[in-house]
Symmetry: C2
Subunit: 389 residues, 2 copies
């Protein structure tokens, strides 16, 4: 186990009906003017928008709106939000939506007190020093953005998708009401499942040794997502299934609680970011395609971890099999599960051909080789992309 | 799963050599005068005391000392600490030690800004509104006090042992250096193991349904403690074993992270508090005796959970056994493990006879029946105590 620091100051308020606590949370921060950040019209259709406005009114909060956050949130939209905050003396950012909305809201929050352009934080030209306080109401179990300080932002002018992480960007509170996810369409529920599992993979497949608790925490989330994913797809209003997925996605990426002291990987995420920086596909669709192929490419680096994964997470019976066979059976079980829930397994299913693979591979290693489980050079990335066609 | 709120603002700084970060942490809080709280002479013998003083000096912090915190910390000692803080304008409390020292320091921290007597908080006569900031350097893996807002304090004049919990009593930071636990004697290492496992038991044996992730998180800690406990006892300076135990004890009781949305029990702790309020025994010694007998007494309330415990935590093979047999095998495995590591299994081993059992039973239910897995009346407590003789 490596040395580490862990600090997660976000308050989570979880359960059916917890939206009714939004007003008191805003009041606790002395909110006068909030920027309400949301995506498309789905929160208006579901009635959530009206319920949020009611809470804001009851708390006596003036509201300015930043609507239309994109599935891959754009820096141009973030800049618009920052201008709105400055023009209207906004003192609190309230994000209502899924990971994209939350990520955009975080970028606005850190951008307001900064004199330069917010993109500077994404390309490491400047360090985040402060932020407006941020609260969230989550409508999609997926990214963990509700309990961490991370944000992923896309710059279409430059075809770049970059991320930042900062203690200043942790939400002050997040309201997690599983009933708000009942109306999430099947394909987005699938994306959330893949996203949550992928976040665990990036932490679990690690070269760090002697981390028995962390490995089990990771496996606990994977097993619980696998069980509850299909339940939620079969019964979209199954409270327990939705609640379990929501808790899993939050715990999967809440500042690294499940993988403290472990070296993380994140190569697959970086490859996917380059794919979806060129093709406007859902992040999780890219992950679903790439992860089993990444696993196949790197599993020899640490066969024991892949054997453990197969046995503990997928209940592969190891008797009579070689370690290599057990490991491959675990990878195949992953692929099969993704297929079973309707997630893609080939880039071709996403209408992505081989014409941009070299560019994506080069861009992935733009800051140097990626990953730690196995350090990937452009050539490695290209092989993984090719095996994903 | 029940609704819940979770908020744990403590920063943990974990690893060999992290004591060297104490000075910068104190400086970050603008500390001018610290109350250094510690127990007996062990930190002086080990050299830790000198290293802490060096950090305080380097950070330019004036130091006032409250030494001699008892294994069951006394309210009289806490009152002394509060007076010291007021007399010397202390602005930060620094606890260096195990759970008892941390608990005493928390009581001092909440007592200083309160006009009445600190004991009021323990008997629920007053609510905690604020506290001096508190930091800790942990020397014993056991109570989780380093990452929660709980404190247990004894009042010998009244033979009462009571607890409080408050968001204001969470440490601002806790330095967790596993190497500081190398010198912990075997019996205290054993106590820490039992204490950690008992904390998980109080959360895991719950009537709340549909909590698959939480159950697995609890089982993850139990399995990891069981594996690493004997390793640490055999090799007191085995870094990984000490680190795993330290992380397990912290995660086992850090504001309920592993059992969010579950009704907790805590009856066994309340019974034990009455035992050790009369007999000055180690808390964990009492728990080691009581827990298997509590399990035997209540397991019928929810046989499925005890079966799951036996199979998942103790690898009991259920084939050819009734659920009752599997459950009992799991309870017996618990008892056997405690015996194997040298923890007591009978009150008589602690020189406790049957003359005070009624009084302890009555005192346990002084505020009403205890526990939630099975609500225990005085008669139930008495039976558990009798079966523990």
């Amino acid at each position: 186990m490596n040395s580490f620091a862990f600090h997660n100051p976000t308050r989570i308020i979880f359960g059916a009906g917890t939206l009714d606590k939004l007003g008191e949370q805003l009041a606790a921060f002395g909110t006068k003017t909030a920027l309400l950040v949301y995506g498309g019209g789905s929160i208006k259709q579901s009635g959530l928008y009206d319920r949020v406005l009611q809470q804001l009114e009851q708390a006596g909060v003036r509201t300015v709106e930043l609507a239309g956050i994109e599935p891959n949130p754009r820096v141009s939209t973030v800049r618009k939000g920052i201008e709105l905050c400055r023009a209207h003396d906004v003192d609190f950012i309230l994000a209502v939506g899924g990971g994209s909305v939350l990520d955009a809201a975080k970028a606005v929050a850190v951008g307001v007190p900064y004199e330069g352009d917010v993109w500077d934080f994404l390309i490491r030209k400047a360090q985040i020093q402060s932020a407006l306080p941020l609260g969230t109401v989550l409508t999609l179990s997926a990214t963990g953005s509700e309990m961490n300080g991370n944000s992923v932002i896309t710059n279409w002018e430059e075809n770049l998708k970059k991320s930042f992480g900062s203690i200043h960007a942790y939400p002050k509170f997040s309201i997690l009401d599983p009933t708000l996810t009942y109306s999430v369409p099947a394909n987005q529920t699938v994306n959330g499942i893949v996203d949550t599992m992928s976040h665990v993979f990036e932490q679990y497949f690690s070269l760090t040794t002697d981390t028995p608790l962390q490995e089990r925490l990771c496996e606990s989330i994977l097993q619980t997502v696998i069980e509850n994913g299909e339940k939620a797809l079969a019964q979209p209003d199954n409270y327990e299934a939705r609640a379990n997925l929501m808790l899993c996605s939050t715990y999967a990426l809440n500042g690294g609680m499940i993988s403290v002291g472990m070296q993380q990987d994140w190569a697959t995420h970086m490859i996917e970011h380059e794919v979806s920086a060129i093709y406007d596909i859902a992040h999780a669709a890219g992950l679903s395609v790439l992860f089993p192929n990444w696993m196949t490419y790197v599993h020899g680096e640490r066969l024991d971890r892949f054997v453990q994964y197969a046995v503990r997470v997928w209940n592969i019976d190891p008797s009579g099999k070689s370690d290599e066979e057990v490991a491959r059976a675990g990878i195949q079980a992953t692929r099969d599960y993704f297929t079973r829930i309707g997630a893609p397994s080939r880039l071709s299913e996403l209408n992505i051909g081989d014409d941009q693979l070299e560019r994506m591979a080069e861009e992935t290693v733009g800051f140097g080789p990626v990953g730690s489980f196995r350090k990937l050079q452009a050539g490695d990335v290209l092989e993984i992309l090719r095996s994903s066609l």
